[in-house]
Amino acid sequence: MARPIKVVMAKLGLDIHWRGVYLVSQFLRDAGMDVVYIGNKFPEQIVEAAMQEDADIVGMSTLGGNHLTLGLKTVSLLEHAEMTGVKVFMGGVIPPKHIPQLLDGGVHKVYGPDTPMETIINGIKESISV
C-alpha cells in the first residue's frame, strides 16, 4: 500500500486564530492523511519541518494579513531548498484580489472562508496525483 499523504500544517507567524487550521488538520487526518500540526511557525521553521517530515503538502493558515509576505517567503524558501515537489496550500482570511499574486508566486491553492472540507481534501489528493 502506498504511504499516506504527508501533510505539515502550520499557523503562519503571529496569527492567533487556530480554530480553522486545527479543524482542517483533523478532517485531513480523518480522510486518511498523515498530518503533523506544528503550531505557530515562521517560514524558515515551516520549511525545516517540511524537510524533516518529508512532507508532500504544506498547509498554512493565516487570518492575520501576512499571506503576501510570510506566505510567499515560505514558497521561495522551499524552492531554495529544492523542495519544489512540496505543494503549498493556504487558507484563512485572504482578500480575493491577493489570490492571483499567491498563485503566481507558487502557492498551489488558496481556500477562503466557507470552503467545504471535501473541496480541500480533494484538492490535496488531486495535487498529489498530477
Binding site: L14, I16, V93
Partner: protein, 573 residues
C-alpha cells in the same frame, strides 16, 4: 413522555390551574397534534445549540417550580436575572461601542474622532498581532503583520498619538489588550499619558481585557508564557488597577473569544466565571477584600445564532455570578454581585459568501443582546470575513445599534422577554448547566490546572469538530453557503483596509525613540523589573515606571519571556 416533576411547591400558578394546563397539554398532544407531528416531537431532535431539549410547545408547567421573588426577582435586585440596573435602558442606554484601530496610531486617531463624531459613546481600541502578542513593530517576529487587523503600539508615544486632541477624562475606552502580559503594559501607557496631560485618575474610564485564557488557550502563538505566570500577571493587573483607577475595569473575562475559538454557550460562561473564581481566590489570598475588586470585574459575551438560548444565557449568567459572589465569597457590596457585560455579535457566524446578508444576521444578534440586558454592544460588520471593518461597514454597524435603540421601542421596558415559558425554562436550564460545568472544572483542580493539562484545548477542539461536521453535512444551515446557495456565487468586491506604510512609520518612530530616550533610565527600570519577576510583588508599578522611561512594549515582553520561560501549546503534534 416524562415531564420533570417540579421540585418546589407551585409558585407562579395555582395547583388547580396547573392541573388544568397539564391535562390540556396532554389532550392537545394526543388529540390535536397529528401523528407525524407527535413523532417529530418524540424524536428528541430539537435541541438548542448547546443541547438543551426544546419542546414544540412550552407551557406554564415548564416553569411551575419557579419562585418569582427568589429565582427571578426585580431588576437591580438579587439575583439580577432581569438586569443589573432598576430601570435598565431607560436610565442608561447600552453604550454604542464600536471598534477603532488599524494601521498606525495616527490613522486610528482619525477613526476614533470619526466614530465619536457620529454618536459613539465609547471606543474599543484593537491592536495588530505584534502588539497583541507583545512584539515591537521592527521585531523580526512582527514581519508581515504590522498595522494589520489593528493598531501598532510600541511605546507610550503611540498611545499619545492615538488619543491626540481627545480628552481622556471624557470618554470610556476599552483597551483591547487580550493578554495579561500586555495588559500590564499598554493600559499603563494610557494611564501615563493621562497623567502627563493632567487628567485625574478618577476620571479615567474604560476596560482592558487581561485574560490568561486568551494568552494560553484561545489564541495560539509562537511564544507563550506558562499558564500560572499569565494568571499571576492577570491578578497583578486587577490588584493594581483596583487600587488606583476606580473607574477602570481591570479585567473583562473574555467569553467572547473563547466562544469564537470553539465552545457552546454553557462553556463560554462557565469557563469565564471559573477564571473569575480563580482570580477572586488569588486576590483574597493576597489579602484583598472581595468587595474591593469584585465590583470592577466585567464580562464579555458572544451573541451567537441561537436567539432565545443566547438571551437565556445572558439572564442566567447574571444569576450564577450573584450566587457565586454572594453565597460563596460572601460579598457584602451589592455591586460585587452585579454582572456587567459587554456583548459583541458572533463574528464566527458571518460568512464571506454574500456578505451583505451579514447585516441581517448581526442585527438579529444585536437585538438578542439587548433582550439579554448587555451594558455595551458592538455589532460586527458585514465585511467581518474579509478584514477589520472599513469605514462604510463600521458605520452600518453603528447605525444598526442606533436603530435598535431608537426605532424599535425594545428598550422602553425592562427585560421584555421575562415570563415567556420558553425563555424562563431555558434560563433555568442554562443556570444549572453552567454550575455543572464550573463544578467539573473545579474537580480537575481549577481552571489554571485544567489549562496547563491541555484539557481546555481538547474541549475546544472536540467542540469544533462536532460543529464543523454539522456544517459539512448541512445539519447546521448557513444561508447562501450550504443552504439556498446561489448558482453563481456572489462576487461582490469588498474593499479591504491596508496600511502598508505602517511598518515604515513605526520603525522611524522607534529609531527616534531609541536615540532620544535616557539609556540609563531604561536599563535601570528594566533591571528592577527583572528582579521583581522573581518576587511576589505586584509588577504593575514597575512596568508603569518603565513605559514612562520610554521602554518599549517589546522590551518588556522579551524580559518576561526570558525570566519566566515559554510553554508549549498542547495541541501541537
Amino acid at each position: 413522555m416524562g415531564r420533570e416533576e417540579s421540585k418546589k411547591d407551585v409558585c407562579l400558578f395555582s395547583q388547580d390551574q396547573l392541573d388544568t394546563i397539564k391535562s390540556g397539554y396532554d389532550d392537545w398532544f394526543n388529540n390535536v397534534l397529528k401523528d407525524n407531528d407527535r413523532q417529530d416531537e418524540l424524536s428528541g431532535k430539537y435541541v438548542t445549540h448547546s443541547g438543551i431539549p426544546i419542546r414544540m410547545l412550552h407551557t406554564p408547567a415548564d416553569i411551575a417550580g419557579i419562585d418569582y421573588a427568589e429565582d427571578i426577582g426585580f431588576p437591580g435586585c438579587a439575583p439580577y436575572v432581569r438586569g443589573v440596573y432598576p430601570n435598565m435602558y431607560r436610565g442608561r442606554p447600552f453604550t454604542l461601542r464600536q471598534l477603532a484601530g488599524l494601521g498606525a496610531p495616527e490613522d486610528c486617531n482619525l477613526r476614533v474622532k470619526y466614530l465619536l463624531g457620529h454618536g459613539a459613546t465609547g471606543v474599543n481600541i484593537l491592536f495588530d498581532l505584534p502588539t497583541i502578542r507583545g512584539y515591537n513593530s521592527d521585531d523580526p517576529e512582527a514581519e508581515g503583520n504590522v498595522g494589520h487587523c489593528g493598531a501598532a503600539v510600541d511605546s507610550i508615544w503611540d498611545i499619545d498619538a492615538f488619543f491626540k486632541d481627545i480628552d481622556l477624562g471624557a470618554i470610556s475606552t476599552s483597551v483591547v489588550t487580550h493578554l495579561p502580559s500586555t495588559s500590564i503594559v499598554i493600559p499603563g501607557m494610557y494611564f501615563a499619558v493621562a497623567e502627563q496631560r493632567g487628567t485625574p485618575k478618577d476620571k479615567i474610564a474604560g476596560t482592558c481585557q487581561n485574560d490568561f485564557i486568551m494568552e494560553t488557550c484561545v489564541g495560539s502563538g509562537p511564544e507563550i508564557l506558562p499558564p500560572p505566570v499569565s494568571f499571576r500577571l492577570q491578578c497583578d493587573v486587577v490588584e493594581y488597577i483596583c487600587e488606583n483607577y476606580p473607574r477602570f475595569n481591570p479585567i473583562s473575562y473574555n467569553g467572547y473569544n473563547l466562544r469564537e475559538a470553539g465552545t457552546d454557550a454553557v462553556q463560554e460562561v462557565a469557563i469565564a466565571i471559573s477564571n473569575a473564581i480563580a482570580t477572586a481566590e488569588e486576590l483574597i489570598g493576597r489579602g484583598m477584600d472581595v468587595d474591593k475588586f469584585a465590583p470592577r470585574m466585567s464580562f464579555f459575551w458572544d451573541l451567537h445564532n441561537d436567539f432565545f438560548e443566547e438571551i437565556a444565557k445572558c439572564r442566567a449568567s447574571r444569576k450564577v455570578w450573584y450566587k457565586i459572589m454572594h453565597d460563596r465569597f460572601g460579598a457584602k457590596n451589592p455591586k460585587s454581585c452585579l454582572m456587567r457585560f459587554h456583548i459583541q455579535t458572533a463574528g464566527v457566524t458571518l460568512p464571506a459568501t454574500e456578505p451583505l446578508n451579514n447585516v441581517a444576521r448581526s442585527a438579529i444578534q444585536g437585538l438578542a443582546a439587548v433582550f439579554g440586558g448587555c451594558q455595551s454592544l458592538h455589532i460586527d460588520s458585514f465585511d467581518e470575513a474579509y478584514s477589520a471593518p472599513t469605514e462604510e461597514a463600521a458605520l452600518v454597524s453603528l447605525r444598526t445599534q442606533q436603530i435598535i435603540q431608537s426605532e424599535t421601542g425594545v428598550i422602553n421596558t425592562v427585560d421584555p422577554l421575562a415570563g415567556s415559558y420558553y425563555v424562563e425554562y431555558l434560563t433555568e436550564q442554562m443556570i444549572n448547566r453552567i454550575f455543572d460545568y464550573i463544578k467539573q472544572i473545579e474537580e480537575l483542580g481549577g481552571l489554571v490546572k485544567a489549562v496547563e493539562d491541555g484539557w481546555l484545548h481538547r474541549e475546544i477542539a472536540n467542540y469544533n469538530l462536532k460543529y464543523q461536521k454539522k456544517i459539512e453535512t448541512g445539519e447546521m444551515k448557513i444561508v447562501g453557503v450550504n443552504y439556498f446557495r446561489a448558482e453563481e456565487a456572489s462576487t461582490q468586491e469588498i474593499e479591504v483596509f491596508e496600511y502598508p506604510e505602517t511598518y515604515t512609520r513605526q520603525k522611524a518612530k522607534l529609531d527616534r525613540l531609541r536615540k532620544e530616550r535616557n539609556r540609563q533610565k531604561v536599563d535601570e527600570s528594566l533591571n528592577v523589573l527583572r528582579d521583581k519577576c522573581h518576587t511576589d510583588e505586584n509588577l504593575y508599578p514597575y512596568t508603569m515606571e518603565a513605559v514612562k522611561n520610554l521602554v518599549t512594549l517589546g522590551e518588556i515582553e522579551e524580559l518576561f519571556r526570558e525570566e519566566f520561560g515559554l510553554w508549549t501549546f498542547p495541541l501541537i503534534s
